[in-house]
Symmetry: C2
Subunit: 204 residues, 2 copies
DNA sequence: AAACTATGAACGATCGTTCGTTCAATATGG
DNA sequence: CCATATTGAACGAACGATCGTTCATAGTTT
């Protein structure tokens, strides 16, 4: 067997992939606990249970670890994206999204991680691009629901559905952040968001 | 003259106060350009045109510089707070606030600084308290306007005016952040916010 | 002279990264 | 199929830079 690459090599490759995942999980834990800039590469290695040098065998550097995390955030959005294309009355889809996404954001870890990425995105273009891309997908799907609701006569003719979609997401995000910082009740907040949004799109 | 404190001392005190202000301005510039954690104390001193050691004559440390900046942010809120207690129809007051506060936030420096403080507020309680306090004042004033509008029959009976005030502020904040990151048009965004809010509070 | 302001060298700690090395898994030549 | 290069994972010491802070010293005001 001169070239058993189909399966033999995949043994190492798989182990390597597992290590990468291990490092990423460790990094997330560190970033959540201490913040990105307060976390040292040694912290990540120690948390992952590997050596400092070995981390650099799997990632070019600290920055790239965060980039990968920001990229993986995209995967977490898929359930919400799928829920938004559900063939049901637009109002129902929208209401479901508000609750589902709101509950996702209600987990403090998601908020904290988002803030770390958000903050770094301002000065690191590659992270900013990924962040905007993730955000854009959600907004676009939400916008489509709004447009459908308008076409089907369920919602009023909002002047700018795209902007409204943006604002809804930002309301959810901002609310989640406030609920973390000031320990507000996220359920109460979700009720308020629901009322706010539906009052704004209700036909006269 | 054993104690010429009445006027003589105030000369030095004034000079010292000016130095403090100089340092704070320099720090703001640095934090805006590089971010809080990426800014070194030497950077601030150099930007202020003073020596490294002298900075420590005016501030106990780097952290305290940010605390002071977060505190001073409160002053910037007073115009908006005053505008919100204006004795005019609630809808007019609200609309004026949305534009004024929106334009304030449209300046990228205000957004960037807010994010630096926001981010640090998560893990530094004293900064968090100040941030929440500033936010609370705006929200409370806005809530009062909403309640007045409801009482006077101008707005619909929103179930939770406090939460709605929160959400409005978060929409403004989030929108401003997006306008910085993705270079969206803030004017377009403000129009959307205006429409969104007034549609949500309009009576049936 | 006493009190305050200003200076920059110096400190210990920690930063992100690189380095030489070891070692087991894999590919290749016989 | 075995012996042998080759590869890449794993390690932790070491590097130079920079971090926030302190300190001894000199200059300036009152």
């Amino acid at each position: 067997m001169p070239k058993p690459t189909g399966e033999a090599e995949s043994k190492r490759a798989k182990a390597s992939a597992e290590r990468r995942a291990l490092i990423l999980e460790a990094a997330v834990r560190c970033f959540l606990e201490k913040g990105y800039h307060q976390t040292g590469v040694r912290d990540i290695a120690k948390q992952a249970g590997i050596s400092l040098g070995n981390l650099y065998n799997h990632f070019p550097g600290k920055h790239d670890v965060l980039v990968e995390i920001a990229t993986l955030e995209r995967v977490e959005m898929t359930p919400f994206l799928e829920a938004l294309v559900r063939p049901a009355p637009a109002g129902e889809v929208l209401g479901g999204f508000l609750r589902a996404y709101g509950h996702y954001l209600a987990q403090p870890e998601n908020v904290l991680l988002a803030i770390e990425i958000t903050s770094e995105a301002l000065r690191k273009p590659d992270i900013g691009e990924r962040f905007i891309a993730n955000r854009f997908e959600i907004v676009a799907a939400l916008e489509a629901v709004l447009r459908r609701g308008i076409e089907e006569g369920e919602f009023r003719a909002v002047p700018d559905p795209h902007q409204m979609a943006h604002l809804i997401v930002e309301m959810l995000d901002g609310g989640a952040y406030q609920s973390v910082l000031s320990e507000a009740n996220m359920d109460t907040l979700l009720d308020a968001i629901d009322d706010f949004v539906f009052a704004a799109i209700r036909r006269h």
